[in-house]
Amino acid sequence: MSQSTKPSASRITLGGTLLTLLAYLVAIVMFFPLLWMILTAFKTEQQAMSIVPQFIFTPTWQSFHDAIFQGSAYTHYAWNSLITAVGSTFLGLLLTIPAAYAMAFYPSKRTDFTLVWMVSTKFIPAVGVLIPIFLVFRSSGLLDTRFGLLMLYTSMNMPIMIWMIYSYFKEVPKEIIEAADIDGAGTLQTMLRVILPLALPGLTSTALLVTILAWNESFWSIMITNHNAATLATYIASFRSAEGLYWAKLSAGSVLASAPIIVLGWCAQRQMVRGLTFGAVK
């Protein structure tokens, strides 16, 4: 048996080779714009505008220096991005953990429907609710405020958070909750001392995903902020309108905007994969 399986396992087939090549090709096509952005960020504006693409050049930090210190104040936007992304994640966790807990452990006849309904709100194009939200924000003085953006991001990400946390909670055996109940734990104690530690990998991956979603969000940031609460998405967009097409500076700004979240995602990828596949195999 082992004799017959061993060679077939190590045999390189034509189909396998072609599939590997295709995978590399797709990866390169997907990664190339990112690579080009990083390369352009280290070029001068002249090199960046050159009709003939330049792969070999002397790198310069000038565009990064301009992007950070010249007028547009990168740190202001980055701070806004950080506050809205992290803040909305924390607020979201505070609100969705009890909601998901109730739905997972004390379901009603309408729980499944409610879950589907919540996710269905994500099907509505953002542009469809732009005017109502804009008007509400304007009349309540939330336009161009961090608090307004934070509230918007929180509510925007709540359906996906509830859905994810609900699935992690569902993986916790019911007997453990009952054991805690018999041991004398109240609902809050059961949640804090038993359920949350057990669902921690899932909660972490939810938090990471939602932070990334909020960080990358550009539509609402551009639409309801101007300068005060504007995030990095607005900062990047501002290059085009205010400063013309300065490719090298635009690329440096984009690298600065995307780097933190890429680094975060890279560091947390194991945690995320673990969280996203939590309970997939018993």
Binding site: P173, I176, E178, A179, A180, I182, D183, G184, A185, Q189
Partner: protein
């Protein structure tokens, strides 16, 4: 410790249809070991969960020491439960698992330490206190689950099929451990199982349940010697009791495979021409050359279909006309498949059931005779 009383307790999940548990009545003695046994879906676990307060009874009363418990949350009932899946907290060490309930009660740290260590010593798990449940074997997890229950010093222990995830050998070991533990702690215990061997070996009294109803409550001997009905007769004892349908013709009971003299006390209970079931336990059927029967009852002849040698005994299955009869013979008798075999049972070992499946033998002279014969043989 508590006297637990269940009066007409029932559980209905919907408005229509039969309940999961109907009219359950039981009063335990203080410190008694009660086993609830029955097939899957018979309502035994639901009954236990109602005692625990994990499910609310829809009818009747549950009392601990005369105090009404219906509606009292599980955490205020002063009970401890061992779950089938153990339900240990995976993120806590063995020590923390056992100490969790005591910490919630805000008991002094020194006392918690003492109680956890004492329980760990009783169960022989002192060396495992720092480990997480995932680093334990099934038997060790079982001990931790028991430890978590005993540190609480509850008034009632509830155990829901706690041994069903263990292998056969460990199950026998743990069975004895639990019985010893009960003798030592003398806490009123409810033990749910579907395994009648566990029930017979552990229970001081056994409650046999089927389809939400109590079939019989009694000591292991009572259930074995005088089953109230065919369900209990068939459920208690391994292999199951054999049943043969017969009809009264004058002073005889006649079936397709055998005939039998009618016991005088049965004359009033079975009218002429009426059918009844005769029950014989496999271990009470012997070969005709075995002289240990005093008064020959039924004689059955058939062809051997299956031989199962178990070492000390052998199980033989015969096809006798329309019935399949199982017998348990001592040792490994020299028998072959398809061989004709004639079996006989002592008259006093027979059980008679009406067509309503209720035992006609209960309180009859035969039952008393059987009991005395049992005593004589021992």
């Amino acid at each position: 410790m508590a006297i637990v009383e269940l009066n007409n307790v029932s559980k209905h999940y919907g408005d229509k249809g039969p309940g999961a548990v109907e009219d359950f009545n039981l009063r335990t003695r203080d410190g008694e070991f009660i086993v609830l046994v029955g097939p899957s879906g018979c309502g035994k676990t639901t009954t236990m969960r109602m005692i625990a307060g994990l499910e609310q009874n829809t009818g009747g009363d549950i009392l601990f020491n005369e105090q009404e418990m219906s509606g009292v949350p599980a955490k205020h009932r002063d009970i401890a439960m061992v779950f089938q899946s153990y339900a240990l907290y995976p993120h806590m060490s063995v020590h923390d698992n056992m100490a969790f309930s005591l910490k919630l009660k805000k008991i002094d740290k020194t006392e918690i330490k003492q109680r956890v260590e004492a329980a760990a010593k009783i169960l022989g798990i002192e060396h495992l206190l720092d480990r997480k449940p995932r680093a334990l074997s099934g038997g060790q997890r079982q001990r931790v689950a028991l430890g978590r229950a005993i540190v609480r010093e509850p008034q009632v222990f509830l155990m829901d099929e706690p041994l069903s995830n263990l292998d056969a050998r460990l199950r026998v070991e743990m069975r004895a451990e639990i019985v010893k533990l009960h003798r030592r702690l003398k806490v009123t215990t409810f033990y749910v199982t579907h395994d009648q061997v566990e029930a017979m070996t552990m229970g001081e009294r056994i409650v046999v349940m089927n389809a939400g109803h109590i079939q019989q409550v009694g000591t292991p001997d009572e259930l074995y010697d005088s089953p109230d009905n065919m369900f209990v007769a068939g459920f208690i004892g391994t292999p199951s009791m054999n049943f043969i349908k017969m009809r009264r013709h004058g002073e005889q009971l006649q079936g397709t495979d055998a005939s039998l003299a009618l016991e005088p006390w049965l004359k009033d209970k079975v009218p002429e021409g009426e059918e009844l079931w005769v029950g014989i336990r496999p271990e009470h059927l012997r070969t005709v050359d075995d002289s240990r029967h005093t008064r020959e009852g039924i004689r059955l002849r058939g062809k051997i279909e299956v031989i199962e040698p178990l070492g000390a005994v052998s199980l033989i299955q015969l096809k006798t006309g329309e019935h399949r009869i199982t017998t348990q013979l001592e040792g490994r008798p020299r028998l072959a498949l398809d061989q004709e075999l004639e079996l006989v049972s002592d008259m006093s070992r027979l059980h008679y059931f009406g067509l309503d499946e209720r035992n006609l033998t209960v309180n009859a002279p035969a039952a008393e005779e059987a009991a005395s014969l049992q005593g004589h043989q021992e």
